[in-house]
């Protein structure tokens, strides 16, 4: 990450979080991420159009008819995506007019559910972003998230009779601790032996999967079932929800925003954050300046793991109230995309996480209403990530001029470290 320029502007401490974010975005080009998202969404629609069955059945008789069927299918998908993620405008208007509680809840549920879905994305994205800032590629958010979920669910059901204001922080803390441990190990290996964190975190992912499978069939299994699933957590460990069913919007969203502010504060307002960014930008300079690279690396990986662990904790404490195997849906890879789209800045990560949360939630409606499998969202995410990672593609498509400065670059140092 080329943060050197940022360092020179360090005296401008008064800048708000958003100000710094805009400044960083401006150094690249504000246009590129936005155009990347739009292009990705458009190409996703194109895939939906060409995979519509009606296109093939009508192609031989009338190609024009077939094309219009395909466009129709894509438009129907986009509209389902909108209704599913933000809400159906007509329904919202009707609900507001009637003022009836249940109708209002149903009308606003899609929007609030999207926010709920974005919570683990915010945490996991922050985890990867924090790693990037320290020059570390934490590809193990998935495993750290699993460990966080395991620890949280254990504290959640094993401790009983505690008041909520003690039990809930304990359960969240356990999640953070579990994730931190899973980040600490690759961090220590990186700092002490040079073992590359990409390989080690991939390995740790699979160790976490196997461990969770073992635990859910053994020590953590719900007593009255043969299914690999944990007991339900106590109500005192649940993240409180703000509305009645079906709205699942819970306190975790605000915890996530607080975490984003915390990461911002840590990175840009503290000495540790400065050291962390220096180690990330130029390790030799950091060493020359007398910074403790081992300590900074281990701390960065542990903090990164703790954030990913909180993502898992939020899923079990706020949404599922229990732990089943493979409950995570690819947050690990998605979080890399989030950190890159958000330019590793907390504000950017939150915005990108909201986008992913809305897409994921809307995709469910898209599957029901337009018969488009939810997996199309992964395809769109991959395309958006590709365009963000190679801005030259976007510039070529839209004939943008190359910026005077080089793009933010992310470089992985070789496997051996």
């Amino acid at each position: 990450m080329a943060n050197q320029d940022n360092e020179s502007k360090a005296p401008a401490q008064k800048k708000s979080a958003f100000g710094i974010f805009l400044q960083e975005l401006g150094r690249g080009s504000v246009l590129v991420p936005i155009l990347a998202i739009i292009t990705g969404l458009f190409l996703g629609g194109l895939i939906v159009a060409v995979t519509t069955e009606a296109v093939y059945t009508t192609w031989s008789s009338s190609p024009l008819e077939a094309i219009s069927r395909g466009v129709d299918a894509a438009l129907r998908s986009y509209s389902a995506l909108f209704n599913g993620s933000i809400g159906n405008p007509e329904r919202i208007a009707d609900a507001l007019a009637s003022g009836e509680g249940a109708a209002l809840r149903r009308a606003f549920n899609p929007f609030l559910e999207s926010l709920t879905k974005s919570v683990p994305y915010i945490f996991a994205g922050l985890a990867v972003a924090l790693g990037f800032r320290a020059g570390l590629f934490n590809i193990g958010a998935e495993g750290q998230l699993f460990m966080g979920a395991i620890c949280s669910v254990y504290v959640g059901f094993a401790l009983t009779g505690l008041p909520a204001f003690i039990h809930l922080p304990l359960a969240l803390g356990a999640g953070a601790l579990g994730g931190a441990l899973w980040g600490f190990i690759p961090g220590l290996l990186k700092a002490k032996t040079g073992g590359h964190e990409v390989i080690n975190t991939i390995m740790m992912n699979y160790i976490a999967f196997r461990l969770s499978e073992y635990l859910l069939r053994g020590p953590l299994q719900r007593p009255d079932t043969t299914n690999p699933i944990s007991p339900f957590i106590e109500t005192t460990a649940q993240l409180p929800r703000f509305f009645d069913s079906p709205i699942r919007f819970h306190l975790g969203f605000f915890v996530a925003l607080a975490a984003a502010y915390g990461v911002y504060w840590l990175l840009f307002k503290t000495r540790l954050g400065f050291e962390l960014r220096t180690v990330g930008a130029n390790p030799s300079a950091a060493r020359y300046a007398g910074m403790n690279i081992v300590l900074v690396t281990v701390l960065a990986m542990s903090l990164s793991g703790a954030l990913a662990g909180l993502a898992g904790a939020n899923e079990v404490l706020g949404v599922n109230y229990t732990l089943a195997p493979a409950f995570s849906s690819g947050y690990g890879f998605d979080s890399i995309a989030l950190a890159l789209i958000g330019k590793s800045h907390p504000v950017g990560v939150v915005l990108a996480a909201l986008l992913f949360g809305f897409l994921r939630n809307g995709a469910l409606q898209m599957q029901i209403a337009a018969n488009v499998p939810v997996d199309i969202i992964s395809v769109m995410q991959a395309l958006i990530l590709a365009f963000i990672a190679a801005p030259a593609i976007i510039r070529t498509i839209y004939r943008l001029r190359a910026p005077a400065q080089q793009d933010d670059e992310l470089r992985v140092r070789g496997w051996g470290g």
């Binding site: 290996l189 390989i199 080690n200 390995m203 890399i336 499998p373 590709a386 140092r413 496997w415 051996g416």
Partner: protein
């Protein structure tokens, strides 16, 4: 497990005192493990029986039977003696070979313990290990091709997954061979994307690999849910049947284990030998490696760095494609969502474990395949070890190797670094 010995032997030996003591303690630890975990829990009169007939052969070997406990004691003592010698004097340069020997003794002890009071088909076990090693080794060979040329490829998993689906669809429509070809080409196509992103646009290679992994999971699950679920005839390719090598298959014991497999196993063996020979004994291989070690020097000598890298990555993708086709056309006979289940990443681990050498990677593939196969059978054998811990073993072993405990691997020097031609 002599292959493991050769795997680790190729790692540059380090003659430090710490390493000598660490290895000695490892040997003693394994001896203690045999003693306390296995021997202590075995009743004195139990007999272990190993069946040596894989089936399908007219020769019948007598079963190998012995009383378990004395053999376990002997194995534990042997390990302890070796450990003591290592602590006192050290084996010097042959330490890694000795480590391989101790590991082999430990595995034999484990199997004897597992089969105490019952019988275990050793020949079937070996055959299954070889089969499980096929996709892992092919994944590792794909990684070696890319990384020896200096391009990190963590997209092996995605390439395999996509190729598995493409092979299933084309195999169902046009026959197995067309399916195989389509699978290989699908892997190559994704590799083109990886190459363009990471060589032309100089995107970070891990990011580019991540793009391909996310895309592959998405597109295969999408097509599977959209089409394969409702049009079953698109997902019924069948599988390649086993080929018996005439003459060789009649060798007692080894014949059925080694010479009666489908095209994917023999393909893997051929690619293994070809790649080893190509990398280390031809001009092509020297150029490829020079581009991965020191691209600027290679460029100065007139080697086209970009073209070499493109070629290596695309060939690597086709290798992953071949490995991916194994899942549908060589093993299961149909495509299931995310069916590769991390085999591509284990392949990556095997590549590192095997020190970026084809035969080293094959050795690691055998080891990982063995763990994989054993985990699947432990439940059937009624063993008291949770299979999940066995499945963790390859990952833990890779992390230990990477940490340099067993000797530091020699990765290509310019791995992961995009090449920038000067004067631009």
């Amino acid at each position: 497990m002599s292959t493991q010995a050769s795997t680790i032997q190729s790692v540059a030996p380090q003659g430090t005192a710490t390493r000598r003591i660490v290895m000695g303690l490892v040997f003693l630890g394994l001896a203690a493990a045999i003693w306390f975990l296995f021997a202590n829990t075995t009743q004195a009169d139990l007999v272990t029986t190993f069946t040596l007939n894989p089936g399908g052969s007219q020769f019948n070997f007598p079963n190998l039977g012995f009383t378990t406990l004395p053999v376990l004691h002997a194995l534990a003592s042997a390990c302890a003696l070796i450990g003591a010698f290592q602590l006192a004097r050290g084996f010097g340069r042959s330490t890694n070979a000795v480590l391989g020997l101790v590991a082999a003794l430990f595995i034999f002890a484990f199997l004897s313990w597992v089969a105490s009071g019952t019988s275990l088909n050793l020949a079937g076990l070996l055959r299954a290990t070889l089969i499980r090693a096929v996709p892992i080794t092919l994944g590792a060979l794909s990684g070696i091709l890319c990384e020896r040329a200096g391009v990190v490829n963590i997209a092996i998993e995605g390439m395999m997954l996509t190729s598995a689906m493409v092979a299933a669809i084309f195999g169902s429509l046009y026959g197995l061979w067309v399916g195989l070809l389509a699978g290989v080409l699908a892997g190559g196509l994704l590799a083109v994307v990886h190459a363009i992103l990471s060589i032309k646009y100089k995107t970070d290679q891990i990011v580019s690999g991540t793009v391909i992994n996310i895309f592959s999971i998405g597109i295969t699950s999408f097509i599977s849910a959209k089409f394969l679920a409702s049009y079953r005839y698109l997902n019924n390719p069948g599988i390649f049947s086993d080929i018996q090598i005439p003459g060789l298959v009649d060798i007692p014991f080894l014949g059925p284990i080694l010479f009666s497999h489908n095209i994917f196993f023999f393909g893997m063996v051929v690619f293994l030998v070809l790649l080893h020979f190509g990398l280390f004994f031809t001009r092509w291989g020297l150029r490829l490696r020079s581009v991965g070690e020191h691209p600027k020097a290679a460029d100065t000598l007139g080697i086209n760095v970009f073209r070499t890298r493109y070629m290596a990555v695309i060939l690597g993708g086709m290798m992953a494609g071949f490995g991916g086709a194994y899942f549908t056309l060589g093993s299961v006979g149909r495509f299931d969502e995310v069916m590769t289940a991390g085999r591509g990443f284990i392949g990556l681990a095997a590549m590192i474990f095997g020190n970026w050498n084809p035969f080293g990677a094959f050795g690691a593939g055998l080891l990982f395949g063995f763990a994989d196969m054993l985990a699947a059978r432990l439940a059937i054998l009624g063993v008291r070890v949770p299979s999940e811990f066995l499945l963790m073993a390859p990952y833990v072993a890779t992390m230990i190797v990477l940490a340099g405990v067993v000797g530091r691997g020699q990765m290509p020097a310019a791995d992961g670094q995009p090449y920038e031609k000067e004067g631009h």
